[in-house]
């Protein structure tokens, strides 16, 4: 009996070892060969084919719809550097290996070979490779944005968030979670610095929250200077001044049509706040009822203030006649005074309406949002990005950034001026998602790519819109007490 038991055990153990080895080996190499080769590229989501990425971007995870098993191999100059497999058609690239891949491919291309197993091709289909160009320039490590339900009058949870572009780390800078009532908006940073920040808190205990030189403060603009609430900010590069527009904004909701609403300003003026003296600087030219000025933006040297302006109309009836020109005015920071205004884009002559002027770090290019009319392009499906070369005052073709059917709107330049991040509704027409694009020194853009997510489907499932993306040089760490400045008592 004992002998038998020993034999039995030895045999069983051997069998188990064989089975275990098979399991381990098959687990280690679930890499398979597809039986068919397709003569086309795979349709992947997000579309990362032929995009240009910085060397410090998070893994470009992607998926093929209705696929089961999926394989992707990443090659550079003919050398296979990384192989990734996935299920449910999703490729999730390990972060460390991706970074190493980017480092090796910097300045060149990564060729991505995708094979897919699905109902149509149960034995697998191998597609032609698509390239990803890796630009040697890095991108600012973080972006800040607001997450908000996309629409209408009410909100529940609003937060200003930040995302590490080199990974998938996302964290809240500040939210209204303690009261669910305060509206937080228009966050801004001086010269990409994560050490200072401002945002507006709207509500019974609201105001403009300023975090500057390590100090938190709340400014109630309706109680100082011309006693006007402030809206869109632009922090002067020297860090002392912040230009604001002061807007009286309303909404109209449409009963029919794809565009559900229109947002417009009854009035808007420009003013400048001095963070050192607490003074509000105004110029009578920018405080009239006849002209509406909004969306201020400084040139990188701080010598010009760019903005858009339109003639006041009878609103909302004449909202389609609101056409905003692109303007700039010289500014002398030593005397806090403005010079003569200059029209860069005359909407009456050239048509349409301009929003969000933003100047590249080298001061050469001005990117703005064009729409048929009005001042809130995010709800305008026709809204597109356009760019002016400030040297030649000619438009540069940036059409490859735009979606022909849905709104492309808010945008920001990176600190070294080679990258932009912008909001687009091209995925579904309602939820704004962030796209990043590379532009060469002449301003020629490459195909934009969707902000990478750990699970690519996350871009589709998220129930919040991204709002006002801004590049920053690090992680913002506001004191916890910031909430006390604006939270409303229940």
């Amino acid at each position: 009996m004992t002998k038998y038991m020993q034999l039995y055990n030895r045999d069983t153990i051997s069998k188990c070892l064989i089975v275990l080895s098979i399991i381990i080996l098959s687990g280690c190499s679930s890499w398979k060969s597809a039986s068919i080769s397709a003569d086309c590229r795979p349709v992947i989501f997000p579309d990362y084919a032929e995009v240009t990425v910085p060397t410090n971007i998070a893994p470009l995870n992607f998926m093929v719809e209705e696929a089961g098993h999926i394989q992707a191999s990443f090659s550079h100059e003919g050398n296979e550097l990384l192989k990734v497999t996935g299920e449910e058609g999703v490729i999730q690239i390990p972060l460390k290996k991706w970074r190493s891949l980017l480092a090796q491919a910097a300045g060149g291309n990564i060729d991505v070979y995708v094979s897919v197993w699905n109902e149509e091709h149960p034995q697998g289909v191998a597609y032609l490779p698509f390239p990803i160009h890796v630009e040697e320039t890095e991108i600012d490590p973080w972006i800040a944005y607001r997450l908000i339900e996309p629409g209408y009058r009410s909100w529940r949870q609003i937060g200003l968030f930040q995302r590490n572009l080199s990974s998938f780390e996302e964290s809240a800078i500040v939210t209204n979670a303690t009261d669910n009532e305060t509206c937080l908006n228009c966050h801004h940073f001086p010269a990409y610095s994560s050490q200072s920040m401002m945002f507006h808190a709207r509500g019974a205990n609201g105001g403009t929250i300023l975090y500057h030189d390590g100090k938190l403060s709340k400014i109630k603009f309706n109680e100082i200077g011309p006693k006007k609430n402030t809206t869109y900010p632009a922090w002067h590069p020297d860090g002392r001044l912040i230009a604001f527009s002061s807007n009286t904004t309303r909404q109209t909701f449409y009963l029919h049509g794809e565009k559900p609403l229109e947002v417009y300003d009854y009035a808007s003026d420009l003013l400048v706040y001095d963070t050192e003296t607490g003074e509000v600087i105004t110029d009578p030219r920018f405080m009239t009822e006849e002209t509406l000025e909004t969306f201020p933006a400084w040139s990188p040297d701080g010598k010009y203030l760019y903005y858009v302006a339109a003639d006041a109309k009878n609103l909302p009836d004449q909202v389609e006649e609101m056409h905003y020109h692109l303007m700039r005015v010289p500014f002398d920071a030593s005397t806090n005074s403005f010079g003569q205004t200059d029209t860069l884009y005359n909407a009456h002559v050239q048509g349409g309406s301009a929003s969000y002027p933003r100047i590249s770090a080298d001061g050469r290019h001005l990117l703005y949002t064009w729409s048929e009319y009005g001042t809130f392009p995010v709800w305008h499906p026709e809204a597109d990005l356009r760019m002016i070369d400030l040297k030649t005052m000619e438009h540069v073709d940036v059409s490859c950034l735009n979606d022909p059917e849905e709104a492309d709107s808010y945008h920001s330049w990176s600190s070294e001026g080679r990258w932009i991040v912008f909001g687009s509704r091209r995925l579904d027409g309602r939820y704004t998602r962030l796209y990043i694009a590379y532009l060469d020194e002449d301003g020629n853009p490459d195909k934009p790519f969707l902000l990478p997510q750990e699970d690519p489907r996350y871009n589709l499932w998220r129930l919040k819109s991204y709002n006002v993306p801004e590049f920053i040089d690090g992680e913002v760490d506001l004191p916890d007490s910031v909430v006390k400045l604006f939270e409303q008592e229940k």
């Binding site: 979670a177 009963l255 029919h256």
Partner: protein, 477 residues
């Protein structure tokens, strides 16, 4: 000595089971539509955003558990069971604790029933189950701690003999249990009304218009604006608005849609109203607004409505988004399966948003419904909504003009017109005789109007109003 069948543990289980049945009966028979409504008002998803969002707010883990449980409330049988179980858990835990701590726990077991009252006191209005689940978690932790400690150290505590009287214990148990049941069953802060509202919502969502009219009496409709709104919608959908609008208390255009109420019940009603009338932008608007009222800014009922509306509009991207999101909850598998073929059918179709060269805005009801009448001159429902709201607002002149506009297609020569319109036109004709020119007014209405006018002119106003109640004439006086 023969051991009693009712050991302390068995007694506790018996009490807990009995209480469970009682609570279940109260929830199921008194508040079943409220339970269904709770499911619609809540939201749960396995998507990463949802968990992180919940853990960043006050409701935290208890709220997250509550949201998970609320998914099952679409079956009121199950919802009532969960509500009852959540109520009984603390009592059961306390009972176990007493059994472990005392040598003669049967003398003090009634104490375990006391926490029930604290839970049931606020359970109805605990929309996120925050307090209920918190109490459950706390009592479970206490019980586990007690079990752990008493596994090593068994206290020899003893309840005084005089407290061991079985009748005293039974009486105290029944009293404590009755108080807790009373807290649930009593009609405090409009709980019954809330149940009635949620029943109307349920009937409306299932297009059971006759049942709504059976539920809401004209007297109720006159005194309660939400009930009135549902009754008027039911009349409109049943084609009876022109017969009974004033009987159900129509007083003005604001009775059809809520413009300044942000409660989920009112917003859901608005969304349903617009959905019944194919005003999709307004449906989407109201559904978003309704979702925002929920703790995470989105709710099952708003998501379902958004998904269905976008399917209706053939907007594949958005419809799929919401269907996908709902597929990440626990109880929408069948719902999603039903919609997958619909989604597939609109996959490569251009969305069908109605074009409007006049860009009509969603402002007041008259403006909105006028736009619909303008676009759909032959649509009887739109015309009735507009004409009745004009009558309610005593806008005789506008009524006359718009009636003429729609009558050309809806009431060609010789076609009988609805009673209310006949009454209104006859009344207007006393000032503007041309208003009835070419319009066939029935002999019965003429006779009744003559009778009404006769009584009014002879100083018998009260009698006239009583005899001709529910007529436009009575309303306008």
């Amino acid at each position: 000595m023969k051991k009693s069948f009712f050991t302390p543990v068995r007694s506790l289980l018996f009490i807990a089971a009995l209480l469970f049945v009682v609570f279940w009966s109260v929830w199921f028979f008194c508040y079943r539509h409220y339970l269904i409504w709770l499911e619609g008002y809540s939201f749960f998803s396995t998507l990463p955003d949802f968990a992180s969002q919940y853990f960043s707010i006050k409701e935290g883990l208890p709220g997250y558990i509550g949201a998970f449980l609320h998914q099952f409330y679409h079956l009121p049988l199950l919802g009532a069971a969960i509500q009852s179980l959540l109520t009984v858990i603390p009592a059961f835990c306390l009972g176990i604790i007493l059994i472990r701590l005392f040598k003669n726990p049967e003398a003090i077991l009634w104490v375990s029933v006391i926490p029930l009252a604290f839970i049931t006191y606020r359970q109805f209005w605990d929309f996120h189950l925050y307090y209920t689940v918190t109490a459950d978690i706390a009592s479970l932790i206490l019980m586990v701690l007690t079990l752990a400690v008493t596994a090593f150290v068994k206290p020899e505590w003893k309840v005084p003999e005089r407290m061991g009287n079985i009748y005293l214990n039974m009486t105290l148990t029944v009293v404590a249990a009755s108080v807790s049941v009373w807290f649930i069953a009593r009609d405090e802060n409009g709980k019954r009304t809330h149940e009635e509202y949620t029943r109307l919502e349920y009937l409306g969502e299932n297009r059971r218009w006759d049942d709504i009219l059976d539920t809401v009496s004209p007297k109720d409709a006159r005194t309660d604006e939400l009930k009135r709104a549902y009754a008027l919608l039911a009349l409109s959908e049943s084609g009876l608005l022109t017969e009974h609008a004033f009987r159900y208390g129509l007083q003005g255009e604001s009775d059809f849609v809520f413009t300044d109420k942000i409660s989920p019940l009112c917003l859901n009603y608005n969304a349903l109203f617009y959905q019944c009338n194919d005003m999709y932008n307004a449906v989407i608007h109201q559904a978003y607004q309704q979702g925002v009222q929920s703790v995470t800014g989105v709710s099952f009922s708003s998501l379902r409505r958004l998904a269905d509306t976008y399917i209706e509009l053939k907007d594949y991207d958005l419809a799929r988004k919401y269907v996908d999101i709902l597929s990440h909850s626990s109880c929408h598998k069948a719902w999603v399966k039903e919609r997958l073929p619909q989604l597939e059918a609109i996959r490569n179709v251009k969305p069908e948003y109605a074009y409007d060269e006049y860009k009509a805005t969603i402002s007041n009801f008259t403006h909105v419904i006028s736009s619909m009448v303008d676009r759909n001159r032959d649509n009887r429902k739109y015309a009735d909504l507009l004409l009745c709201s004009l009558l309610a607002d005593q806008e005789g002149g506008k009524f006359k003009d718009i009636f003429r506009y729609v009558a050309e297609v809806q009431y060609p020569a010789g076609t009988p017109i609805p009673r209310l319109y006949e009454e209104a036109l006859l009344m207007i004709s006393t000032i503007d005789p041309q208003s009835v020119a070419g319009i066939r007014i029935s002999a019965d209405t003429r006779k009744r109007f003559a009778d009404f006018a006769g009584l009014m002119n002879s100083g018998k106003g009260t009698q006239a109003l009583r005899k001709h109640a529910d007529t436009y004439w009575a309303y306008s006086y």
